[in-house]
């Protein structure tokens, strides 16, 4: 690879959010928002437990995973203590607020207002017996994986 080789800039991203923990949801939201800030088209696709980020009754109660998360640097049995996840969540939320990273509901509204499209995965919606009314108002539609690929034409697909 020569030093002066130039690459086509990223123009469009399709980001899949598949996990429902705080640490599973934020990376996708930050990347989608960052894309829009730089004029890159962005689509968010929520699947499996990632749907929790857009379910009205759940999105304000997202927690850090303290069990089975090696990044926490603590033994799994400690992570399982009552209140451990709540404590880690509140600590992380404070740190994020310092960096001006909004809570999930506000973040979803912000990326949507920034022009990012939000979709829920149909297979997961059916599996969890959810309806359109269960989701926050920013969700544009419930779509199949086929429709997701159609909407991702020309995009880089990022799985988180």
């Amino acid at each position: 690879m020569s030093d002066n080789q130039t690459y086509e800039p990223v123009k469009k991203v399709s980001i899949v959010v598949s996990k429902g923990s705080l640490d599973g949801i934020y990376p996708g939201l930050i990347m989608a928002n960052g894309a829009r800030m730089d004029g890159i088209e962005a689509t968010l696709f929520f699947t499996f437990f990632g749907l929790d980020a857009i379910i009205n009754k759940r999105m304000d109660r997202i927690k850090v995973a303290t069990v089975g998360n090696p990044g926490m640097h603590m033994p799994t049995w400690i992570g399982a203590f009552p209140g451990m996840s709540a404590m880690a969540t509140s600590m992380m939320k404070k740190e994020m607020e310092k960096l001006d990273i909004p809570p999930i509901r506000e973040f979803i509204e912000m990326v949507h207002d920034a022009g990012c499209d939000l979709y829920a995965c149909k297979a997961s919606v059916d599996m969890f017996h959810l309806k359109k009314e269960d989701f926050c108002k920013e969700v544009d539609d419930i779509i199949s994986v086929g429709q997701f690929y159609e909407k991702s034409a020309g995009a880089q697909i990022i799985f988180t």
Partner: protein
């Protein structure tokens, strides 16, 4: 890097943003806006630009989009309309600031 904008020779950084905060004035902003594809700066554009300069002066970096939309009086939707195709970089460029360092 240097460029001649509005009859003045201006030093630019590697990203093409103004190298010196104090080289900036309102006439220059109008010219920078034209180069970014914004033919005319409206009152709302100025709200954003002035807020960004104020924040940069106080903190040494451009404000986050969240702070900007909460405190400048311009909301997210309007911000993206005012500075299409990337408000973060574009508004900073017109305001005579370096590319924002933050992620949000």
């Amino acid at each position: 890097m240097e460029a001649t904008i509005a009859g003045k020779t201006i030093a630019l950084d590697a990203d093409g943003h103004l190298a010196n905060f104090n080289d900036w004035d309102e006439d220059l902003a109008k010219e920078l806006a034209k180069l970014e594809g914004i033919p005319e700066l409206t009152e709302d554009h100025w709200k954003v630009i002035n807020f960004m300069r104020k924040e940069f002066k106080a903190k040494g970096d451009a404000p986050s989009i969240r702070k900007l939309t909460k405190e400048s009086g311009v909301d997210t939707k309007l911000l993206y309309k005012l500075f299409p195709n990337g408000p973060a970089k574009k508004a900073a460029k017109i305001a005579g600031l370096p590319k924002p360092k933050g992620c949000i």
